[in-house]
């Protein structure tokens, strides 16, 4: 097996590393902040991040430096940084590790980002279930404040940056950046219509950057080792750096693997994660969290970078790679994810609210052997009328499991429906019936 130099997971590869401030400092922590604060201009920091090619690790893969560059230059009022630690995309569990095992790496990244965008206040929006993570972050902020890394007049530079932890309370949609802002403002987490974008109208209507935990954790390393170094890792020029891929499902060693972008799924699954857990062969995998369309064994040589996965008809998304073995019922799998999306639809727009409910009903009907052939057309039709017609990208996400399983494993849907026909279970249904 090829091994790669870990960057983000480096400290915590030592099981005894507990992530305290002295340990982080001994490992070279807060050097980047010392080097940068008051010595390099914020515009230069942004330029370095742009040049590194760093793209967001939260799902959409937007270039981080470019996003920062959208903030109005001449605006005098407050600006905010929000760290997206909502990590609710099924299949994703990397931010949890980054937070629980090396909290100061994230804090240093946040301080650098705050400096670059001119924010004096920042919030870590962490999913409510991460009680331990929130406690660890609170303790780390306290340590950093006592040591003078966080708070007023950092290193005597006159620059003040504060960081607070804000816990969510169980709503997947609050990972969507504008829903996150609404939630942080004490409201229901309903996504906002964009534009305007958070860069100009974000938290409290002020210029705001929302970045994912893993994105921010990369910053100290980029500032320490330089844009050229970072840009040489992965598949430059468009997918630079490493990613922490979360491998779950039927593999021998599920877990988080930090590898340079651009290795193949075959290498990630069969070498890093130890291959399949039994003799059963790989049947399907999801390359980037629940929102990413399913792929097949034919796609094993696709490279794990933004462009290659998109070309294969899916997306790198959140980095959650879920592997399914032979014998897995693909209709059942799609239904399980559809139930998730149905449960999590925030209800703001009707194609998603009503559509997700219809999709779940039809999928349940099929799995309960009460489906009919026409259902397959209806499913496709509904999906096409949801995707692209909603307030937020949730609408595009929720149709992926059904559309992609219909594309690759349509015969499994047909088998269910034939079983229904054979059992003669199909009856005309009264209008408005619940299935």
């Amino acid at each position: 097996m090829k091994t790669y130099e870990p960057i983000l997971l480096k400290n915590m590869m030592q099981p005894e590393y507990a992530g305290s401030l002295p340990e982080y400092e001994r490992a070279g922590g807060y050097q980047a902040l010392r080097k940068v604060l008051g010595k390099v201009t914020p515009a230069e920091v942004t330029a370095v991040v742009m040049k590194s090619g760093l793209r967001g690790r939260g799902g959409a893969g937007f270039p981080t430096g470019v996003k920062w560059g959208f903030l109005p230059k001449d605006y005098q009022g407050p600006r905010y940084l929000c760290c997206n630690a909502d990590e609710s995309e099924p299949g994703t569990f990397k931010d949890r590790q980054l937070i629980e095992r090396d909290p100061h790496q994230l804090l240093e990244g946040m301080l650098l980002a705050c400096y670059a965008i001119g924010a004096a206040s920042s919030y870590i929006y962490i999913r409510g279930e991460f009680v331990l993570g929130a406690k660890i972050l609170e303790a780390a902020i306290k340590e950093a404040r006592a040591a003078g890394y966080v708070g007023k007049n950092i290193f005597g530079t006159g620059i003040s940056i504060d960081i607070w932890v804000h816990r969510g309370a169980g709503a997947y949609i609050c990972g969507e950046e504008t829903a996150l802002l609404e939630s942080l403002e004490g409201k229901r987490g309903l996504p906002r219509v964009k534009p305007p974008f958070p860069a100009t109208h974000g938290l409290y209507n002020k210029p705001t950057v929302v970045n994912n935990v893993e994105t921010l954790a990369n910053l100290p390393h980029i500032m320490n080792r330089g844009a050229e170094w970072f840009a040489s890792i992965g598949s430059p020029p468009k997918s630079t750096g490493t990613r922490v891929f979360c491998v779950s499902g039927h593999v021998a060693r599920p877990g988080n693997y930090e590898v340079p972008m651009g290795i193949t799924f075959r290498e990630l699954i069969y070498e890093q994660a130890g291959g399949m857990r039994s003799d059963k062969k790989l049947k399907a995998f999801i390359p980037g969290g629940a929102s990413a369309p399913f792929l097949t064994p034919d796609h094993l040589d696709v490279k794990l970078d933004f462009e290659s996965v998109a070309l294969a008809g899916s997306m790198l998304g959140s980095g959650g790679v879920t592997v399914m073995e032979e014998g897995t019922d693909m209709v059942w799998a799609a239904l399980r994810l559809m139930e998730f999306f149905y449960h999590e639809s925030c209800g703001k727009c009707s194609p998603c609210r009503e559509g997700s409910s219809w999709l779940v009903q039809i999928m349940r009907r099929i799995v309960n052997k009460r489906g009919r052939m026409a259902d397959l057309e209806t499913l496709t039709d509904l999906c096409k009328n949801i995707a692209g017609r909603t307030v937020c990208a949730f609408g595009d996400a929720e149709v992926s499991p059904i559309l992609s399983t219909l594309k690759h494993w349509r015969h499994e849907y047909v088998t269910y429906i034939h079983a229904a026909e054979a059992a003669n279970l199909i009856r005309p249904e009264p209008a408005g019936a619940k299935h």
Binding site: Q97, E100, R167, G186, K187, H343
Partner: protein
């Protein structure tokens, strides 16, 4: 009344935000910590503190699944049922708990000790099947482990089988579930 008991904590929470309403979720959590769930009285009091109308507080509170608007058991067993956990047996875990405690998801045991819920992904998909009990995660569940957890909870109110910070790669000598 929360205000009398927790004035200092409430003030500290309010100091984090330039706009009061942002303190809503933290205050609802405070109320839930106090009573085990968010009572109507607490919501009214919070509305007063934040200068909101009570409906503004209700509509927010009802949006979030982690805020309990009615009492739950002392131990809230929340088993993840999303796909990645389902692939490695979460339905079986829900079945075991159901049989052992005689309750279905959404129900509470008569002694008010356990509430069972099936929930969506808790970001522990590589270590499934898993559940959260109150604040703690329990991962790589097996039937044997589950028996011990339930017994521990009854006896001591917690269990040493809960997971701490996410260890990966696993220490070489880690006990596999």
């Amino acid at each position: 009344m929360l205000k009398e008991k927790y004035q200092a904590e409430i003030d500290e929470i309010l100091s984090r935000y330039p706009v009061k309403r942002s303190a809503l979720l933290p205050l609802l959590y405070l109320a839930q910590r106090e009573e085990g769930y968010v009572t109507e009285t607490a919501m009214q009091e919070i509305a007063g503190i934040l200068k909101l109308t009570p409906p503004q507080v209700y509509e927010t509170a009802t949006f979030y699944t982690m805020l309990n608007l009615k009492p739950v058991g002392k131990f809230h067993l929340q088993v993840c049922k999303s796909l990645m956990c389902a692939l490695v047996g979460s339905d079986t875990v829900i079945g075991w708990i159901g049989t052992k405690l005689g309750i279905k998801p959404g129900e509470t045991t008569q002694d008010k000790l356990f509430t069972l819920s099936s929930v969506e992904c808790l970001a522990a998909c590589g270590t499934g099947p898993m559940m959260q009990v109150n604040d703690d995660y329990y991962e790589r569940l097996t039937e044997e482990k589950l028996d011990r957890i339930l017994a521990d909870l009854r006896q001591t109110g917690t269990s040493s089988l809960k997971t701490g910070p996410f260890m990966w790669p696993e220490p070489a000598n880690a006990v596999k579930g």
